[in-house]
């Protein structure tokens, strides 16, 4: 058991990446994730790693593409507007099947938006974001400890599937301080015989590429990608359920919102209301079947987000009309208090739920 240290979320991600063996980080400052970039600038030189502050998010993600293509464990991080700029590169990384970890500490949008916590990038993260048919593995922690564990796991998953993994946090998680311990992964480091390293005795060149000019060959590549995504859906669903066994109303929330939901749920429970919490940890793949299972016992679902309603679409697809799905969200960097959510729970339980 490693020692627990008190750390800010953003810095904990940085240390977790180093524990995971990441020695290449390419970043660009943007609030509210800048502490991570700063942390890497301090730590990387101490572990013989590479920290590079790029000229833009666009350049940073393309450095990630190059470093991942050359076989390195590599990470970049940003916040919403910066992640938008990275989308072209993420599409190329997905197309060329390169492993990397991308951190998005979300802030309010659209546009320049605000610098406060938000969850308005759910669609962008889980439905592709860039052009073409591709998926990122998207993981949403809700504590500093989970930021650490999920960052370490993300490097393993990225290499296992040769796929970009996005750690989807928000400004609050990045800024909050909590104790965390750093436990390295037990997974075997993966071999990368496909990497562009220079021939070094090999006779057949390795080519890192996402261009397939012949449509039939590109279709074959897409089918291969979809087969891989099916495998990820089978293997990598992650979620947490709290008191859903007898719940009449199931709250569905991820990330920081799940903690507000949990406080509200506990208050409702203390008042005798049968409320549970379902927390997707993998946002893609989404725990669809596990959520549907709850429709057999529960009578309604209430999705809570720091957005105008994005994950709720996946909740509705999962519930598939079996039970009503309600939504409550705040946007722009505003966060609901547990009392505010509690009141929405009471209203919903009384059959006067929102939209």
């Amino acid at each position: 058991m490693a020692e627990k240290v008190l750390m800010k979320g953003n810095e904990a991600i940085g240390e977790a990446a180093i524990v995971a063996g990441c020695r290449h980080y390419f970043g660009y400052p943007i609030t509210p994730q800048t502490e991570l970039t700063e942390y890497m600038s301090r730590r990387m030189p101490k572990v013989d790693g590479v920290f590079l502050q790029a000229e833009s998010e666009v350049a940073a993600i393309n450095m990630v593409y190059g470093a991942a293509g050359a076989g390195a464990r590599v990470m970049t991080s940003s916040s919403s507007p910066g992640i938008s700029l990275k989308q072209e590169g993420i599409s190329y990384i997905a197309g060329a099947e390169l492993p990397c970890v991308i951190v998005n500490m979300m802030r309010g949008g659209p546009g320049l938006g605000s610098i406060q916590p938000a969850q308005g990038d759910y669609f962008q993260a889980t439905k592709g974001g860039g052009h073409g048919d591709f998926r990122n593995i998207v993981l949403a922690p809700n504590s500093v400890q989970e930021l650490v564990d999920i960052t370490i796991l993300s490097f393993d998953l990225a290499e296992k599937y040769r796929n970009p993994v996005m750690v989807l946090g928000d400004g609050a998680l990045g800024q909050m301080m909590e104790p965390a311990e750093f436990n390295p992964s037990n997974a075997e480091p993966s071999q990368k015989p496909w990497a562009a390293t220079g021939l070094r005795g090999r006779t057949k060149p390795n080519i890192i590429n996402s261009l397939y000019l012949q449509p039939d060959i590109l279709e074959r590549h897409n089918i291969h990608l979809q087969d891989k995504y099916t495998l990820i859906k089978e293997n990598e669903i992650r979620y947490e359920q709290i008191r859903t066994d007898d719940a009449e109303l199931v709250l569905v929330a991820y990330g920081i919102t799940s903690r507000i939901a949990r406080s509200a749920m506990e208050k409702a429970r203390s008042e005798g209301m049968k409320v549970g919490l379902f927390r997707p940890i993998s946002l893609w793949p989404f725990p669809e079947a596990q959520l549907f299972e709850l429709t057999k016992k529960s009578s309604a679902f209430l999705t809570l987000e720091l957005s105008a309603g994005q994950m709720v679409e996946d909740v509705r697809l999962a519930v598939n009309g079996a039970k009503p799905v309600y939504f409550y969200g705040r946007t722009g960097g505003m966060m609901p208090s547990p009392q505010e959510v509690y009141e929405v729970i009471v209203k919903t339980m009384n059959g006067k739920g929102g939209k």
């Binding site: 290449h24 000229e55 190059g66 293509g69 021939l199 590429n209």
Partner: protein, 250 residues
């Protein structure tokens, strides 16, 4: 007893290319491959290809290659080089890729003095998409997006990237060459060799701009295109070493 005097460089793949008749990319590929062979670095060379006519160059070199997004080759090459500092990394980019969409990346790779080499092929037009105006298109030159000729009043004057990049401290060697005749080909090869030697010495960033024809999109025969380049491009884009650090001067 016969002696082999001329052969395909080992660093050049034994395939036919998609380049149009009279296009200079083939010559430039060969010069790069000859230099890689002569420096004995084929085994540790990694090339980064652009978006544009040379997008498929990854199939034409017999070395590891990475295909980059439009304009991003210097950033991709940076990532590769930082992972394998002992490798020999080059980006191969056209003028649309390097001088328009990729200006930030090429400027900052030079600012950082990244230990890579860039081969910049300037043919004053977007070739792959069928002949549109590039930042390097000459004033009054007709393209499919400057059908009345490039007008400086609205489109500005053509950019001289090499001169601009030479102002940056991290750029240790910048030269402009052409491959319009055998004498210039020899000079071009020497410049390319110098640029790779700068990388091998660890001094910093090096770039060779190679003026090239585009007979197809210029609407000329290969010979007319060479004449047009000599008459119009070389006066605006003068040939020669623009900047050389001591590593080359030695």
């Amino acid at each position: 007893m016969t002696e082999k005097l001329f052969a395909r460089p080992k660093s050049l793949a034994d395939v036919s290319t998609h380049y149009c008749p009279g296009c200079h990319h083939g010559i430039i590929h060969r010069l790069v491959a000859e230099v890689l062979d002569e420096l004995g670095v084929q085994d540790k060379a990694i090339g980064v290809t652009p978006v544009g006519c040379s997008v498929l160059a990854y199939d034409y070199f017999n070395i590891d290659m990475v295909e980059a997004a439009h304009g991003r080759a210097p950033a991709v090459a940076t990532g590769v080089k930082r992972v394998h500092p002992d490798s020999v990394v080059f980006s191969y980019q056209g003028d649309g890729d390097l001088a328009a969409i990729g200006t930030a990346e090429i400027v900052h790779v030079a600012v950082r003095g990244e230990k890579i080499t860039t081969i910049f092929v300037n043919n004053a037009i977007y070739g792959m998409t069928g002949g549109q105006m590039a930042p390097t298109t000459l004033v009054d030159q007709i393209t499919t997006t400057s059908p009345y000729g490039r007008q400086a009043e609205f489109a500005g004057n053509p950019i001289r990237m090499s001169e601009m990049l030479a102002t940056l401290d991290g750029a240790k060697y910048i030269a402009r060459v052409a491959v319009n005749n055998p004498a210039n080909m020899a000079k071009a090869k020497q410049a390319i060799k110098n640029a790779f030697q700068i990388q091998l010495s660890g001094a910093g960033f090096a770039l060779v701009e190679v003026l090239s024809t585009c007979p197809t999109n210029w609407g000329m025969s290969p010979l007319e295109a060479v004449e047009w380049m000599e008459k119009n491009m070389i006066p605006y884009y003068p040939l020669g070493v623009i900047k050389a650090s001591e590593e080359v001067a030695k």
